[in-house]
């Protein structure tokens, strides 16, 4: 191989028509080169053009967009004729792994048929060869039961498994160039680690060139050899991963690096003796019809308790399916618990919405994750906020208008936004309006359900900062639900860890800085990617589960530790026979585990 790079992009521009018909460059004069077998990361926030650039490498532009400039991948060029055009090589020599594998698979066909489809379409292998190759890839990607997993349907597989299957689909034609478009963004941290490790191994084995699109520098640090930092369609910095992480040359890169580890400046440690505001005592809840014993068909929460002091911030973390959103729904009254009670200021709240007074409802407000669907697109921002003011405070006319302006000022948006509709706002702006709607009620406590999860790191940091300031200035308390322990640690005084609907650990947020903690907390914390290139190699090398998945059936029916099937430190004869005790650690955190403090610390 000579100095000739595998991918050579020169002066790439992508132009779309703006709303008024004038041409708008969404990618402006981008040039880069990738050597054969190397991985280049495209990094930037949403709207930076990273996906557009990745797609243009396949000669593909979304509807209405026009590509100009020079792109050369191997012997193919953008305007090449016949088999030498990028378009002809798409799906064959150049393949793509999309963000949401769950949406990318056809639910009515077995996965193996979909995985080998590219090979059959492009004629690189016959059916039997392709199937054999697929099984090899499944093995390489560390999928369970590689020989038979292909005969399942997409709904029988988890998000992480589907994402790896999608990678197998991209690799089945033995491509030269694989484009990964945010492949782990939608996954839990614990799953993300496994998927990243599988990807890295396979890409190295296949010797393919890679383009990795992401907004997360820490993920990129594990996957890529060099990084291209993008902002608003222009290149801000281009260097090797190590250089970007250690000696960033551009201001924007430094902003990204800073945002990767959120630190909230306005954070006020809550005084420990603050009065109790909200307490949740022994909540059991679930979905589906309730049977004679008062147990729902799909139980989610079992015996969850937590307390929120006045003006305090309590974080609830756990992976998807841990029941953390259900906690918020129970507190808000959207879901009636089957046992246990929610107490606000010493007054037990009714289980269902209709039995709560308007005043009780006003004091607890909920903010949902996805501002795109949490704000009614038919109404203007002013109407959305005004409705809350009229409903709870009987405000209308100029008083309401003035209050809306005040609220918008509080969330750092210009007052002109009141006349705009939500679909004209950016993601971060929408999330601010979402927050303002809760603030309009003058609540005592706001339930934040993954409010920062859908946002870019830079925007996320701004929202966190806003939340902390509001808490300092207005004395509002938060029940902050998230899957991201870094976010929770930055904002909250106390943290509760949920696993499959049980509370496995709770304590001050400082207690989560160092062990001992619950084995699950340990897994969560160690799964968060760190900003160094060798992190992925070191992680996940811990012991495999002691008692294995076979313990799963017993766990489901009794009060045994639910983490047992995945626990690396399970004790045979104890963990699979008796329910775990609550242990008080020296740092003040309470852990639900058979292991003693000394054992957990080691």
């Amino acid at each position: 191989m000579t100095i000739m790079p595998h991918v050579d992009v020169c002066g790439l521009c992508v132009t779309v028509r703006a709303a008024d018909g004038s041409p708008l460059r969404i990618v402006d004069d981008v040039s880069f080169a990738i050597q054969r077998g190397e991985v280049l990361a495209l990094i930037g926030e949403s709207g930076s053009g990273k996906t557009t650039i990745a797609l243009s490498l396949m000669g593909y532009a979304r509807g209405g967009a026009r590509i100009s400039g020079q792109i050369k991948v191997g012997d193919a060029t953008l305007n090449g004729a016949g088999p030498n055009s990028l378009e002809a090589q798409r799906g064959h020599r150049i393949t793509y792994v999309a963000q949401s594998a769950a949406a990318a698979f056809n639910p009515s066909r077995r996965v193996i048929e979909q995985v080998i489809e590219p090979a059959l379409i492009h004629g690189t292998a016959n059916d039997a060869q392709a199937r054999a190759h697929a099984v090899e890839l499944f093995e390489a990607l560390a999928l369970p039961e590689p020989k038979t997993i292909g005969s399942r349907y997409p709904h029988e597989l988890s998000g992480g498994q589907l994402q790896r299957l999608m990678a197998a689909m991209a690799l089945i034609t033995r491509p030269d160039l694989v484009i990964f478009d945010e492949p782990t963004t939608a996954l839990d941290v614990t799953t993300q680690v496994e998927v990243l490790q599988a990807f890295r191994k396979v890409v190295r084995e296949q010797g393919a060139t890679g383009v990795y699109v992401s907004h997360d520098l820490a993920v990129v640090a594990q996957m890529a050899d060099s990084v291209l930092v993008l902002n608003r369609g222009t290149v801000r910095e281009q260097n090797t991963v190590r250089a970007v992480l250690e000696t960033p040359a551009d201001d924007y890169t430094r902003t990204l690096l800073a945002a990767a580890t959120p630190v909230v400046k306005a954070a006020v440690p809550c005084a420990t003796e603050a009065a109790l505001l909200l307490s949740i005592n022994g909540i059991h809840a679930g979905y589906g019809p309730v049977d004679r014993h008062g147990r729902p068909a799909h139980p989610v929460l079992s015996d969850v308790s937590l307390t929120v002091p006045r003006g305090g911030a309590v974080g609830v973390i756990g992976e998807s399916g841990s029941g953390k959103s259900t906690v918020a729904r129970v507190v808000a009254g959207l879901l009636a618990p089957t046992a246990g009670e929610v107490v606000l200021d010493g007054q037990p709240l009714a289980a269902s919405l209709s039995q709560r007074s308007r005043e009780e409802l006003r004091r607890i407000q909920i903010v949902f994750q996805n501002a795109d669907v949490a704000l009614n697109p038919a109404h203007s921002v002013g109407e959305i906020l005004g409705r809350v003011l009229r409903f709870y405070h009987g405000m209308s006319g100029s008083a309401a208008k003035a209050r809306v302006a005040e609220l918008l000022d509080l969330i750092r948006l210009p007052s002109a936004v009141a006349n705009r509709r939500c679909d004209e706002l950016s993601g971060g702006q929408k999330q601010r309006v979402n927050l303002a709607r809760a603030l309009a009620a003058n609540p005592d406590v706001i339930l934040c359900d993954e409010v920062t999860s859908a946002l870019d790191t830079v925007v996320r940091e701004a929202i966190l900062e806003l939340l902390a300031e509001l808490r300092r200035d207005l004395g509002v308390a938060y029940l902050f639900i998230s899957h991201d322990i870094a976010t929770v640690k930055a904002l909250c005084d106390d943290i509760v860890v949920l696993y499959k609907g049980t509370r496995v650990e709770s304590g001050r947020s400082r207690a989560y800085d160092t062990p001992p903690y619950h084995p699950y907390t340990d897994l969560l914390i160690s799964s968060v990617p760190e900003l160094r290139t060798d992190w992925l190699t070191g992680v996940g090398q811990k012991d495999k589960p002691q008692l294995g998945p076979s313990a799963g059936d017993a766990v489901a029916i009794s009060g045994l530790c639910r983490f047992l099937p995945r626990c690396p430190v399970g004790i045979a004869g104890r963990c699979n026979t008796t329910p775990p005790p609550l242990r008080m650690m020296e740092a003040g955190n309470v852990v639900l585990c058979h292991r003693t403090e000394a054992e957990l610390a080691g």
């Binding site: 709560r356 909920i366 949902f368 669907v373 704000l375 009614n376 109404h379 409705r387 409903f391």
Partner: protein, 273 residues
Amino acid sequence: MANLINRAGRLPLSGKIGLAFVLFWIVVAVIGPWIAPYSPGSFVNDEVFAESSRAHLLGSDFLGRDVLSRLLSGARFTVGLSAIAVAIAVGIGTGLALTAAVGPRWLDELLSRAMDTLISIPSKIFALVLVAAFGSSLVLLTMIIAVTYVPGNFRIARSLAVGLAKLDYVEVARARGEGRVHLALVEVLPNMIKPLFADIGLRFVFIVLLLSGLSFLGLGLQPPDADLGSLVRENTSGLAEGALAIIAPAAAIASLTVGVNLLIDAATQGKAE
């Protein structure tokens, strides 16, 4: 008003054509009888199925009446009856659909099964039976046609409303303690307007055709009144010679229904994501 004109100006060409047709037929429906050159019931031409002439622009019908005059006075029945019937059908159908979406589960079940029962009866036969049972006065005819089209609209509106009622913004309003009426009318309804309009367009066309069909069978409007459908029926004997008397009302029905659909398609497409 200025806003409406502004929006009309931004319609694509097909939408403008549709709008022109619709406006034309509304104007005809309103002022038709006054600009008709002859009385619709009087025999003014000795020749039946006459060709177009200066005195009779659209010729004469099977009894020697002026086709243009009959068309101008018949249009108001087709346009008016259909518009009123579609308004009633959509009002009831969407109203019940919203009730089902935000109401308790048993009410949803009850309404849905009741509508399923109605929808399982073929609409034309159903209308025929009702007309046969209750006679065919103008009011009754409108009601019958409206009721016939309630279930179809209910099904579409309910599936839209149930989907929207699960979204977070409705959940937020519910957590705020809003009543069901607010949830239905303020949170859900505004977001289903566009697909609902597409359905209204379709249903308007169905109603025009059903009304014309009923009239064609002699069960719709009774003489001496005549809508566009009855004009086609009474002149069927002229079909063999390609008389204007049958082509004109048929073309009128076509232009009305096509116009309505072009307009609604263009208007609802505009901002769809």
